[in-house]
């Protein structure tokens, strides 16, 4: 179909990992001389059976953790790498900004590099002359345009790279992680440019770790994990999916569990004020945490506790039933205690919740689950630290 700009079918990409590059000739000769006894090479599938289609005018965001294959996918689409299996079809001219800064030559000036990049795109000198001012203006480097790019700062480098990639007026624009570099001002300019690009009905593919931006700019999002597509579709759904994925990953390394086992914690359920179970909350929201337990014998006054740690595992807050003077009485068999947090006053981020149950005199630990539950918090207020203290400012004027 004409409206399909990019069609990727059953595409896989394999890399060969070599133990030592220097012996490669020796290895190649040996392979030829002694057939059957192939030198040992490890294969690494960077992408496995990728299928997707991008229609004309669509913006596709690509997310995934480091090493998921995002950049490899983009370079395959740009044509700097070739798929091992399957096919990639693209329609129209492609401009790409792969891994920061188009292929600039350090010894050449900004001006010379701009014309070189234009020529790679197949534009004539005349066409580039027409666009030159707009490029320099967008990059904001008038003063340095005749300096060799090796003297540029990384910000200037990226700005010029982005300006060239956009101003050559491609049908398809591929951008790898440009939003995380450059200052806020430039980021805003980039987003504005990308939006006008969308309005012109052009096709874009963007990689970014800035989930907020990618969510707002994309029509669809592709979620890659270890070379495979985990999901593709509506930005909100996919981002939610991605966030819970990465929360699980983050907590798994910090998880610990131990205890004597007279009481075991059998489950923890987080829900909002409406009783809906979720793992992501807004700051200020009420959170209800139901902790289920199973006691194998009668235990008097067990102490239930909880802890909240940040993503690195540093404790932010912790408390228990004893501190709060809550009488748990005697427990036996199955049951649950409910912890109500009326205002989740935490900064935006991921938090790891720990739960425990131990004896009245703190001598016996029945069961502890450290950093087992990962919860996301969204807070529009950008204060310092993890916990928010309600504060009020006043002003007094001393007249002289």
């Amino acid at each position: 179909m004409d409206s399909d700009k990019i069609v990727v079918k059953q595409m896989s990409k394999k890399f060969r990992l070599r133990n030592s590059g220097s012996s490669s000739l020796k290895a190649a000769v040996m392979d030829m001389v002694i057939p059957g006894k192939r030198s040992k090479r490890e294969d690494f599938w960077a992408l496995k059976d990728i299928n997707f289609t991008v229609k004309s005018g669509e913006t596709l965001g690509i997310i995934g953790s480091n090493g998921a294959g995002k950049s490899t996918l983009l370079s395959l689409l740009a044509g700097t790498k070739t798929p091992t299996e399957g096919s990639i079809e693209t329609r129209g001219t492609i401009s790409s900004l792969l891994e920061l800064g188009a292929g600039f030559h350090p010894e050449l000036t900004g001006r010379e590099n701009v014309f070189l990049a234009g020529a790679i795109m197949g534009l004539t000198r005349k066409q580039m002359n027409e666009r030159f001012d707009a490029i320099v203006d967008f990059a904001g480097i008038e003063k340095f345009i005749d300096q060799p790019v090796k003297h540029y700062s990384s910000g200037m480098y990226v700005r010029l790279g982005f300006a060239v990639a956009v101003e050559v007026d491609p049908d398809i624009l591929l951008i790898d992680e440009v939003l995380s570099v450059g200052d806020i001002d430039f980021q805003r300019k980039c987003i504005k440019k990308m939006n006008s690009f969308r309005e012109q009905g052009k096709t874009m593919l963007i990689i970014s770790h800035d989930l907020h931006t990618i969510q707002s700019i994309s029509d669809k999002i592709l979620f890659l994990e270890q070379g495979e597509v985990i999901g593709m579709g509506d930005p909100d759904d996919i981002i939610n999916n991605y966030e819970s994925h990465s929360r699980e990953d983050a907590s798994s390394s910090l998880q610990r569990e131990w205890g004597t086992g007279e009481v075991t914690l059998t489950g923890v359920k987080f829900s909002n004020a409406d009783g809906v179970s979720q793992d992501k909350f807004n700051a200020g929201e009420a959170v209800t945490i139901e902790i289920s337990y199973k006691a194998s014998c009668a235990i008097t006054n067990p102490v239930f506790g909880f802890g909240i740690a940040d993503a690195e595992g540093h404790l932010v807050h912790g408390s228990n039933t004893q501190i709060e003077n809550f009488d748990t009485g005697t427990i036996n068999g199955d049951g649950s205690v409910v912890l109500n947090i009326s205002d989740l006053a935490l900064a935006s981020g991921n938090y790891l919740f720990s739960f425990s149950v131990h004896s009245d005199d703190h001598t016996v630990n029945y069961h502890r689950l450290d950093n087992h539950y990962s919860i996301g918090v969204n807070n529009p207020k950008r204060f310092e630290g993890s916990i928010y203290l309600p504060t009020k400012w006043e002003k007094t004027v001393n007249n002289e």
Partner: protein, 286 residues
């Protein structure tokens, strides 16, 4: 209707190829690709020439000064050592050998030295070695101006000058063919550099650069295979043909240039084949 075309960033991003019986079509496409990107070749040639003389005070004049000093030093050397060799013969030999030597030396870095371009943008990779050979051709032609000036002063008998375009074309094809092989090989095997220096040394003495071809033609004591290799070496015919054109050297005749032309074209075809086969993996290796 908007013009919809398939942008196939070099050799297309298709996985398995459909076999090699369509190599003719591939060749036509290759020429089309190169023609479409002629602006890029021009800019790359300009860039190569600029970078060569960047940060040097005399800059582009070195292109002319190099051969000038070469003539001066060899004339001094010949007169002091009383080496039995005519200076014009020596100079035409060395200057034309240098074109090949420069191309071979630069070919190691034609792809590897442009890793930033190869990994960041898609374009027919052949443009890189092609632009490299072209910039060396420019240098070569400029140094030939100096040589011609010297020959005029010397008052030599110019010969079949009309052969020059064919000779230069032959050498260009040979240089490009060999450069394609070495530039691709160096991406995968870093031993290429060492192999090349051995190949070049042997090649240098298998070519009548610092001796007249008569020395070999009059000597019938070589084993037959040495003679075959010697005369199949396109550089033998090319260097002799330059001498034929500039110095009216009698040997070895136009038919011999045709042999060199044919062998050079075979080198070019082999180079294109090797390059075409390996370029898909450049992006992975760099």
């Amino acid at each position: 209707m908007p013009r919809v075309y398939m942008n196939r960033p070099f050799g297309s991003a298709q996985g398995p190829r459909i076999g090699n019986n369509i190599s003719f079509i591939i060749m036509i496409n290759l020429f089309k690709d190169i023609w479409q990107k002629r602006e890029l070749i021009l800019i790359l040639v300009e860039r190569n020439l600029k970078i060569r003389y960047k940060n040097s005070a005399l800059g582009f004049f070195w292109t002319l000064l190099g051969p000038l000093f070469l003539i001066l030093i060899y004339s001094l050397f010949l007169s002091v050592l009383r080496f039995p060799m005519d200076l014009p013969i020596l100079v035409t030999g060395i200057i034309s050998w240098q074109f090949l030597a420069m191309c071979l030396g630069d070919s190691l870095y034609a792809i590897v030295g442009n890793a930033n371009l190869v990994t960041k943008s898609a374009f027919p990779r052949i443009i890189l070695p092609l632009a490299m050979v072209k910039s060396n051709l420019v240098n070569f032609l400029l140094s030939f101006i100096v040589v011609i000036g010297y020959l005029l002063v010397k008052g030599v008998d110019f010969g079949a000058l009309y052969l020059l375009p064919l000779i230069i074309l032959t050498q260009f094809a040979l240089c490009l063919g060999v450069a394609l092989i070495f530039s691709a090989a160096n991406v995968f095997f870093r031993d290429t550099e060492h192999i090349m220096s051995i190949v070049m040394l042997a090649w240098f003495f298998m070519t009548p650069v610092i001796y007249p071809i008569g020395l070999v033609m009059d000597n019938h004591g070589f084993p037959w295979w040495v003679s075959v290799a010697y005369f199949l070496n396109p550089m033998t015919g090319i260097v002799s043909a330059y001498r034929m054109a500039f110095l009216s050297a009698p040997n070895p005749g136009t038919e011999f240039l045709m042999l060199s032309f044919t062998v050079s074209m075979i080198f070019l075809l082999v180079g294109l084949f090797v390059f075409q086969k390996s370029e898909k993996l450049f992006g992975d290796e760099l």
